[in-house]
Symmetry: C2
Subunit: 169 residues, 2 copies
């Protein structure tokens, strides 16, 4: 037995994105219930030089779809960062999930033999598929999902780890 | 080619814990530099009903060592949650890394054939090793590392995603 690259990547991204959608639903409901502008949550951040909630969602989406693209070799849809409302953020998440779910297991598993090169200006690190996934893509992905959770919780929305994890049983 | 359960678990936990140690070093240096009590950071939280920084570190440690134990079948050291200083938190992280690094690749890989049962009171979900790792252990682990980062950043410590990710090239 062994684990496939697809098994260790795409379902994790899809699950995290679905849970993020659930967190945002709770955020939207909270804004309605408290009579506050949704933008107060969408533009919230944990520090003046950190990204807003909207940007955390956009980066979650980018990390997931670019990981899908780099592992599978199948181009991902371009998504300009124009979302400013909860419905728009939900639409972006749904589009990201649809792309990830369109990838074949075989294409993603072939990423094991692929060399992935990132472009950080002067630095252009290269990885094997698994090294990219485990050392870069997954930690990055969870960084943005968790920070989105933390922003909502910090703003008073009643979300917790159970919402973030989703159903485990 | 394929991915082993060890490859997808222990090195990720060790790396995350080392990066967490680095984040805490920056926190300790910040307290010294600004002349504030370290406890102001160690007891900080993002919401009144969220865990403190110290507790986030303890839960990161627990998630990593209990995952190691459940996957490998090798008992992990007990660690009462008594840390109240940066050096104590660093010691706990170091002990957790030492346990994880003591596990043999073969023992962890054998976790693929193990059934893992969690105990949530009335609910006792069971998982295969990979399902436990990908659906529960890794998202939980990153939750606490990222929230520790977010608490420090929120309190003004100059940490960022590069500190959280560690060297990628």
């Amino acid at each position: 037995m062994s684990i496939s690259l697809h098994q260790a990547s795409i379902p994790l991204f899809v699950r995290g994105l679905k849970n993020l959608a659930h967190l945002l639903e709770k955020g939207a409901a909270y804004a309605t219930e408290k009579g506050i502008a949704p933008s107060e949550l969408i533009e919230a951040r944990l520090a003046p030089d950190m990204l807003t909630l909207a940007a955390q969602v956009q980066r979650t989406s980018d990390t997931a779809k670019l990981s899908g693209e780099r592992l599978s070799g199948v181009e991902s849809p371009k998504m300009p960062d124009e979302e400013t409302t909860f419905p728009q953020l939900q639409e972006r998440i749904a589009k990201t999930i649809a792309y990830l779910e369109s990838l074949s297991v075989a294409d993603v598993d072939a990423g094991e033999g692929r060399t992935i090169t990132l472009n950080f200006g002067p630095m252009k690190p290269t990885f094997s598929g698994p090294d990219y996934l485990f050392g870069f893509a997954l930690p990055n992905f969870y960084f943005h999902v968790v920070t989105a959770h933390d922003i909502l919780r910090h703003k008073g929305v009643e979300v917790g780890k159970r919402d973030y994890l989703g159903a485990v049983a």
